[in-house]
């Protein structure tokens, strides 16, 4: 790996340093390892997590849960989003369902989810409930913002419905899809982890966090948080990179 920094990367680095600084100041203020352990100590804990035998398994399981939730929500969300965007009747039908899914707190359905599903699947389910409405809303709002003249043109030339969706709608709403996907993934990790905290599957960052918390190991809680944030950051980067690959046509 070649390491070379651009100006923007220096700034991102500065941003991380800034956060560490705020953290340090806060930890000095609280003077307690239980409220907010110092960054140094936590970073050591974080590094020591990497050495843990189950580390890869734990992180891998959470990531695969996240991906599963994301892919399912993505496919469902883009599909229904396009439908709701194109057809006002589908919209009228789906919107109440979306609002319901979106605003139902996890506490209300956790018991159902626990009973229905395998503990490992609960976080995926919770993740989906969080991500799906997002992607769907973003896509359908995207569709509504498409330049109508292009649609008229394509309809006029009798381009098939399927091709209009694939070659007009999808590229046009790419920015909305990306924005939705990036937001959804961001908050999705959180939902997945909360799901793990509640369902306690064998492996999972949430499970580890919950354990650390019951044992009052605040540093480990934060260390796992850092790992979760890193994962989230990596995926954000990947999505943005994919966006730049997709959207080469901007001037």
């Amino acid at each position: 790996m070649k390491i070379s920094f651009t100006g923007k990367q220096y700034i991102s680095l500065a941003s991380v340093v800034f956060m560490l600084l705020v953290w340090k100041i806060l930890s000095l203020h609280f003077k307690s390892d239980f409220v907010l352990p110092s960054p140094e100590k936590t970073l050591i804990t974080t590094l020591s997590l990497f050495l843990d035998g189950n580390f890869l398994k734990t992180v891998g399981t959470t990531i695969s849960r996240g991906l599963a939730g994301f892919i399912i929500s993505g496919m469902l969300g883009i599909g229904t989003g396009i439908l709701t965007g194109i057809n006002p009747y589908v919209n009228a039908f789906l919107r109440p369902i979306l609002v319901t899914i979106r605003s139902t707190p996890v506490v209300s359905i956790i018991l159902l989810a626990l009973i229905w599903l395998h503990p490992g699947a609960v976080p995926v389910f919770i993740g989906m409930l969080t991500m799906f409405p997002f992607i769907c809303t973003n896509v359908s709002d995207g569709i509504r913002s498409i330049d109508n003249e292009l649609v008229v043109m394509a309809d006029f030339y009798r381009v098939s419905r399927k091709r209009i969706v694939r070659e007009l709608y999808i590229p046009a709403i790419m920015p909305f899809i990306v924005s939705g996907a990036s937001s959804a993934m961001g908050i999705g990790w959180r939902a997945i982890i909360i799901g793990e905290v509640l369902s306690q599957p064998r492996y999972g960052i949430g499970t580890m966090m919950q354990n650390a918390q019951t044992f009052l190991n605040a540093d480990a809680v934060i260390a796992w948080t850092i790992i979760a944030v890193l994962i989230s950051y990596l995926f954000e980067k990947t999505i943005r990179w994919a966006e730049s690959k997709f959207i080469t046509w901007r001037a």
Partner: protein
């Protein structure tokens, strides 16, 4: 993962909580673990919610829950009966204030209690009243930290100088923060007025199982009782096992928490009065805590 009765498989499922109940059971857990031929499998869960889930879908044949919650489950029509009471009071008032020794000393103090209207709150208010203090006027009850973990963290961090927390968190906190000491053992204080012990935790069995297979119940009860006895007698060996099964992070805390947890397995029909009196206190103050009514006598297995 259906229960033994439904699948016909040979193993019964016992759902226990990561806490004093599992600590008392640790010897039994260990021997079950070392000998695969046994007919019982213990699942150690971290949240009462997860135990409730296993009772609701019937996958738990035996279960541990706080007694009040067990009463709720029973009153709502779930077919589980109280077999025994394995834990007798784990609540403590802890703090870093060495000037407090008597209840009167609490006057004007701010005391952190975890959740308004829940068991520890009701119990503490009851004791305050019994000791001549008005919970709403003479002391300042602070509910800023609504879960036991949040509150324990706050105590360890010195953010809650006087608080009501339970074992084994109390020991854990004292290990992490040397300034903190026990001030009152609520079980002891309770006994001064009620002449009974705090029947805090319930060991439950599924009706269909315990009626059909009294033999197993007997075996489990005696194993649990023996395990508890052994734990009380050998806190250091027990502590090692407690750490081994991930119930507490270190042996020192575990061995300190064992005496503090009042572990003692009593058969339910021997503890009938204690259970009823205990529940009645809560029922009186907030009927919701016992599920709207007092459980009838079928609650107790004999």
């Amino acid at each position: 993962k259906r229960s033994a009765t439904e699948t016909g498989s040979s193993k019964y499922i016992l759902a226990t909580l990561k806490g004093p109940s599992a600590m008392g059971m640790i010897k039994m857990i260990d021997s079950l673990n070392n000998d695969t031929g046994h007919s019982v499998e213990v699942k150690i869960l971290s949240e009462p919610l997860q135990v409730r889930k296993m009772m609701l879908d019937g996958s738990a044949d035996f279960a541990i829950l706080p007694t009040t919650m067990a009463a709720i489950m029973y009153n709502k029509g779930l077919k589980y009966k109280l077999i025994g009471v394995p834990v007798w009071g784990t609540l403590y008032m802890v703090g870093n204030n060495s000037a407090i020794n008597r209840w009167e000393d609490l006057k004007g103090k701010r005391i952190f209690v975890m959740a308004r209207g829940m068991t520890p709150d009701v119990m503490f208010r009851y004791l305050l009243t019994k000791n001549g203090l008005n919970p709403d006027k003479d002391v300042d009850l602070d509910y800023s930290f609504p879960t036991h973990i949040d509150l324990a963290n706050a105590v360890a961090a010195g953010q809650a100088p006087l608080a009501i927390i339970s074992e084994p968190l109390a020991s854990l906190v004292m290990k992490k923060n040397k300034d903190i000491r026990r001030i009152f053992d609520l079980e002891e204080e309770w006994g001064k007025f009620e002449d009974i012990a705090v029947a805090e935790t319930a060991f439950l069995g599924k009706e269909s199982v315990i009626q059909k297979d009294r033999e197993t119940v007997k075996r489990i009860v005696s194993a649990y009782a023996l395990s508890t006895e052994w734990v009380n007698k050998h806190p250091d060996s027990a502590a090692a096992l407690i750490v081994k099964y991930g119930i507490l992070p270190d042996a020192e805390v575990a061995s300190r928490a064992i005496p503090g947890s009042h572990l003692r397995f009593v058969n339910a029909y021997d503890a009938k009065k204690e259970v009823e009196d205990y529940l009645y206190v809560f029922y009186n103050l907030n009927p919701d805590i016992t599920g709207g009514k007092m459980p009838d006598e079928n609650f107790i297995y004999r």
